[in-house]
Symmetry: C2
Subunit: 379 residues, 2 copies
């Protein structure tokens, strides 16, 4: 045999960071330890049992009894596209509420799937305006889906998911909700609010590493899926196939190989969340947000989003004039091991996005962030 090709490659040892950007958030040591347990087979009876437990915990977290509730084997944008790909057929009309990066992404995905897109535009930094949505629903009775972002991570705006979902229902249109950043951090009631389809991510308020996307389809969304006249364009994302693996009963058919260790982590993160209690977690996010907001304002930083529309777990603040934000963020990282987020799109270079998500939402995080920001802003 040959000598080793590349002897002595160094191991990767990540720096210790405090994660207060737009996600990922800090991961609890129990979740990291769970992920490091030995891998077992994706069809092992013990793993099938874990899948059932995860489904039940996700149902509790979404507040739904939907059978089609499962984590997609990919990051949030994979779960997002999976929902659009399953709900939309070429020629369908969809109303998309666009008030940030993720609304724009909804439009892009819908167009690629061959749907006709009606856009309800709101300014970046504002919640979706229900009146505009109602007008669009009235003007487009042919629309089969209304899609909106509950918690817009690019701007920190929280929209009124309950009102928007009710509007959709009263116009016989399905509601599809992006709950990537809201799940676990803000009140969300899938069944009580009549939401038909939803997706989320694991690296925000659930505080898992990125890589999984919990989704849920209610009865009306499943009916639309069953009534399709064209196959879902994506084999990997076709819920009609995925459900053979994630469905009911002990007999599961192989579809794809599930990310076993990532699911160990998601399970432990959901256990942590429900040990605390979902409502306690919502309250914790609100409380620490209020305390961070007071501190940020004392530093002279003002919020992009008006009070009343602010997302507790993502605080977007305007930068002081003349600040080299990239240099300051580098200093935060290098001198304080603190990660916060930059602005995106039209707000690149103009705002910071400070996350208070899941395990990164504690009084220690608030204090550390305010201290570090104070130091670098002072120069």
């Amino acid at each position: 045999m040959n000598a080793p090709v590349t002897p002595g490659l160094p191991a990767f040892v990540p720096p210790r960071r405090v994660l207060m950007g737009p996600g990922p958030s800090d991961v609890h040591p129990r979740v990291l330890a769970a992920m490091a347990q030995p891998t077992i087979g994706h069809l092992d009876p013990a793993f099938i049992g874990l899948m059932d437990t995860i489904k039940g915990l996700l149902q509790q977290t979404f507040r739904t009894s939907n059978t089609l509730t499962m984590p997609i084997s990919g990051p949030g944008s994979a779960g997002m596209e999976a929902c659009f790909a399953n709900l939309l057929e070429p020629g369908d009309t969809i109303i998309v509420c666009d008030n940030g990066v993720f609304g724009g992404r909804m439009r892009a995905m819908s167009e690629r799937l061959g749907a006709k897109v009606i856009t309800v535009q709101d300014p970046w930094g504002r919640a979706v305006d229900p009146q505009k949505v109602e007008d669009a629903l009235k003007a487009h009775p042919e629309a089969s889906v209304l899609a909106f972002v509950h918690a817009e991570t690019s701007t920190g705006a929280l929209s009124d998911a309950r009102t928007l979902a009710e509007l959709a229902r009263s116009h016989h249109t399905l509601s599809l909700v992006d709950a990537v950043t809201s799940l676990g951090g803000s009140q969300l009631e899938m069944d009580a609010w009549g939401i038909d389809a939803i997706y989320s991510g694991t690296q925000k308020c659930l505080s898992c590493p990125p890589g999984l996307s919990p989704v849920s389809f209610g009865p009306r969304a499943v009916e639309k899926l069953r009534a399709r006249s064209t196959p879902v364009r994506s084999w990997f994302m076709d819920f009609g196939l995925v459900i053979n693996y994630w469905g009911e009963g002990a007999k599961r058919a192989y579809h794809h190989t599930a990310p076993v260790n990532a699911l160990y982590g998601l399970h432990e993160a959901l256990v942590l969340l429900h040990e605390e209690g979902l409502e306690c977690s919502w309250a914790r996010h609100r409380d620490h947000h209020l305390s961070l907001a007071r501190g940020l304002e004392a530093l002279g930083l003002s919020y992009l989003v008006p009070e009343g529309e602010r997302l507790p777990q993502l605080n977007a603040v305007r930068l002081p004039a003349g600040v080299d934000e990239e240099r300051l963020r580098r200093r935060l990282l290098e001198e304080h091991d603190l990660e916060i987020g930059a602005g995106l799109g039209e707000y690149a270079g103009r705002i910071w996005r400070i996350g208070l998500m899941g395990q990164s939402c504690t009084s220690r995080h608030v204090a550390l962030c305010l201290d570090a920001l104070g130091k670098v802003l002072q120069r």
Copy 2:
């Protein structure tokens, strides 16, 4: 605040298994430990550095200098679909070699993408016949892609990737190769053999947990991608967008949030592989396969695949007449903690699939498997 909703949910502790099925394979403790390191941001400079290292290691593993070499943030079937979705446009003609489950999946994906599929059929359990492929290439000069599975995990047949890729090239057709089970376990030379596009998985001979899919596109595949007249149907899988994140240089644009901890694991698994040496790993797979084969034949089990077409890392053997295979596999799992694979499709209930992949390819695994099989077959 409320009392905890669900107090005292138990942690999940997986059983200790020996993984000798069709994947996942046993994961090295160093890989598990790497994955349990604290999460950092997907745009952290330290993480960008890790991404570059991973790209370099994947290039070494595929034996290619292709710039577009990266792990897709999803399991093997996501990487598979990503390759088809990027290479094919509606109306394109593709020649698909079908000699098992994954050839069939290639056809299904191509059809959903609107391509015209020409099938080269070979019996399950046999390698792809190059003569049939040459005939199909001659009969269909309009075909833009030839797709085949290097190592068919459903049957244990190894096809001659070098000859098939050369045939494609001589007919000005792109070759797209499924290397999910071959990468790291069997000789594979992307550049020397002239392969244009390739995908793999992490849970076979790389011995990572499932969840990532290394892919590589050569210059001719990139040219086809650039010359598309229609957008890639999938936003999530569009290499033209993904490459803004996985591309060259220090400046990376956010596309989706990469599965940070899974990538820690992939890095460590690639380090382990290159510490051993790729050619040593190929030799190890061949040697232990020969020793397992002798033992299986001594137990009266015969191979599905004729000698010369056998895949060392996946040993498919016919079951003795009258055996209740499901019961025996359950006994292997319960009494010996040993996972082996069942047959799929027409071979369900008729064969077993015994994996010798990556960290599950040692003399200890061969001995343990033969001992356990001997015991349960004896009753």
